[in-house]
Amino acid sequence: MAKEKRHVISMLVEDQPGVLARIAGMFSRRGFNIDTITVGKTTKKGISKMVFTVIGDDAILEQVEKQVNKLIDTVKVMEMPPETSVIKELCLVKVAIPNKKAKEDILRYTKIYKTKIVDITQKSVTAELIGEPAKIDAFIELMKQFGIKEISRTGVTAVSRG
């Protein structure tokens, strides 16, 4: 059995109505397991960039790339290997403050993780964290002891290095 892993794929698409539906529909129709998907404008008019992560072995990855490429609105598709790409995700975590001691711990941890505090009340603190998905996973794990009230992740986006 080939090894399953997470692949980051970046694509340029024509900015037409329904383009996201075409891509999402193809994924669900063919049973591909898509983890995250992000869309944004590029500097070229009428062209958007999408980055998505798919979990699967090499054969699945190959089919995903080929099927995405077949869509008429797709202009370019490429895999973003972690060794040669900058891969980042933004995450907002709202953590409960059960007591004073906890508050000090939370603030210390957020500093270590180089997060930005974007909101704070007597009952909760919201941290903004930008980084690779694994780092975000680790921070969330750490915050669980205090009680996570809400969480929002953007999904990864990526550019190639150099």
Partner: protein, 571 residues
């Protein structure tokens, strides 16, 4: 010029002079424009929109052109869906136009509004919604390009009523480009060289030829390559006609109801050279054991097909015609090695297989007899269209075709009701040949209303109804795999097809004895209108051999096989 006139102007520029359609509120402006272009373009008024879609398919499959069908919004457009899906499964270029409520009402659940963009999204190569009259011509031009180039397929175009009626204010462009659509046509020379070497060095090579060779008009090139290499040829069901089935090296169709010599060769080959096919489950059976002794060369224009189902040793992406030409050129440069032992063995089995066609003794006419009789009357350019079911598999197995685009059937989708309207489209595309429809009583009744279409438009086709009063293929499965627990498969003795034909002002002949069949067919060929031949075939005959779904090719059974695994007497 309004949007509707722009549609017709653009269709004419694309070489379309006939469409298949049915009117309704949302396409009144479009059909109004037909009155302005009398003598230049004709719409064939069907009786149901599904008929329009299948007729467009039949037209496209028989010619090399895209077929065009038209329906109104809402239920009109949803009635096209089965035909669009069918075209998608079999890579058939059709342009399907659906009316739509005016742009200002879209999304309001207006009368006869349906989200056809959403509905057709997973069953089209692409779809468009025209948002202004100025977009009309460029969108249609893009649609034809997408439908016809690369791996063909259906394109749906949504036509809001105001975009048909509104004025076109911009010049129609001469050409359109689509940034994300550049199919690979020229094969990679390195892969061609590897494939040529593999072919030279193989001991028991075998061709598997699919629909892609028909679509790519590569039959002549294939014939040359076979003449050069003397490699035996099997085809998929959809590839029928891509290679002359009367050729001594033709083994016929592979797969679930394929010829046993073709399946046997697949088991024995050490190099499977697959061109323009997609290794459907009906061809391969169990993927783990399929061609397990063989290296696989897979050539296709759609890179996503390569490696999708079957592991591939040498992939080639490109147009079938170019691939075959390049392969021939590459092999010519090398010394062709004799493979006479393999060829001799295969020819011996082919002979055995050809001769082993006893028609079982039955009270009523056996379907095999109908096929054999028709084979005698078919001219090379005549077209055979089929419905879906047992009769279709009998046709696939026994009917011999020598030219591409002369065998038309719903392969991937298996759409009952496809046959009759598709035969209409085929006849419109090729008015000078006889078009025979081999259909079942079940299939034929699904689109029987198109009898009105053939009468009113003087279209002559020859429907041969293999009437067994059953939904035969399901009945066969129930007999073989469900202990004869027949549930919902008996249709009964109705209708009287001869009287139905007569009610439409057409002719019908009922055939009850073997001796009546040939004269009836000859009469139908002579008649100047559509003549239904109602052949009373054996009620419970089975199409054999048969391979279990997902089974091992060696476990195919029936026909001339003594037992599963016993392909030939001397194995």
């Amino acid at each position: 010029m309004n949007g509707a006139q722009a549609i017709i102007e653009t269709l004419l520029k694309q070489g379309t002079d006939v469409t298949f359609g049915f009117p309704g509120g949302a396409v009144i402006p479009l059909f109004d424009a037909y009155l302005d272009y009398k003598g230049k373009i004709k719409n064939i008024l069907v009786r149901h929109e599904q008929g329009a879609a299948h007729a467009a398919e039949g037209y496209a499959r028989a010619s090399e052109k895209a077929g065009v069908c038209i329906a109104t919004s809402g239920p009109g457009a949803t009635n096209l869906v089965t035909g669009i899906m069918d075209a998608y499964m079999d890579s058939v270029p059709i342009i399907a136009f659906g009316g739509q409520v005016p742009t200002n009402l879209i999304g309001n659940d207006a009368f006869q509004e349906s989200d056809m963009m959403g509905i057709t999204l997973p069953i089209t190569k692409h779809n468009f919604q025209v948002r202004s009259p100025n977009q009309m011509a460029p969108v249609i031009m893009k649609a034809f390009k997408i439908a016809l180039e690369g791996r063909p397929g259906p394109v749906y175009i949504d036509l809001p009523k105001d975009t048909q009626a509104g004025e076109v204010t911009e010049q129609i462009p001469k050409e359109v480009t689509i940034a994300g659509f550049q199919p690979t046509l020229t094969p990679n020379p390195i892969q061609i060289k590897r494939a040529a070497e593999a072919i030279i060095n193989a001991q028991r090579p075998l061709f598997l030829i699919g629909h892609g060779v028909i679509i790519g008009n590569a039959s002549k090139e294939l014939e040359e390559l076979v003449a050069l290499t003397q490699i035996p040829v099997t085809t998929t069901f959809m590839g029928k006609g891509a290679f002359n089935e009367l050729h001594p090296l033709s083994l016929g169709t592979v797969g679930m109801h394929g010829r046993k010599v073709a399946n046997y060769a697949t088991l024995q080959t050490d190099l499977l050279i697959a061109i323009g096919c997609r290794f459907s489950d009906r061809i391969t059976g169990n993927l783990k054991t399929y061609a397990e002794n063989a290296k696989v060369i897979h050539a296709d224009i759609d890179p996503a097909e390569i490696g999708k189902n079957v592991r591939v040793d040498i992939p080639i992406v490109g147009d079938s015609k170019e691939i075959i030409k390049e392969l021939t050129a590459a092999i010519k440069k090398m010394a062709v090695k004799e493979k006479s032992e393999w060829t001799k063995k295969i020819k011996h089995y082919k002979k055995y297989c050809d001769e082993c066609v006893p028609t079982p003794k039955t009270k009523r006419i056996h379907p095999k007899f109908v096929m054999q009789t028709l084979n005698k009357l078919l001219k090379p350019d005549d077209i055979v269209v089929t419905g879906v079911g047992q009769h279709q598999m009998f046709a696939g197995h026994f009917i011999k075709r020598s030219k591409p685009r002369t065998f038309i059937s719903s392969g991937g989708a298996g759409t009952m009701g496809f046959g009759f309207p598709a035969s209409i489209g085929a006849k419109v595309a090729k008015p000078n040949v006889n078009v025979f429809l081999i259909d079942g009583d079940g299939s034929f009744q699904m689109t029987i209303q198109e009898l009105g279409t053939v009468k009113e438009n003087n279209i002559k086709v020859i429907p041969i109804i293999m009437n067994n009063s059953y939904l035969g293929m399901v009945r066969q499965w129930l007999e073989l795999f469900s202990d004869k627990r027949y549930s919902e498969v008996y249709l009964g003795k109705t209708p009287n097809f001869v009287k139905v034909a007569e009610a439409y002002g057409l002719k019908g002949i009922k055939v009850e004895k073997q001796s009546e069949l040939e004269p009836a067919l000859k009469q139908a060929i002579k008649n100047d209108c559509t003549t239904i031949i109602d052949v009373q075939v054996e009620e419970e005959s089975n199409i054999l051999p048969m391979l279990l779904p997902g089974g091992h090719l060696k476990d195919a059974f029936g026909g001339c096989m003594a037992a599963p695994g016993k392909f030939f007497g001397d194995d």
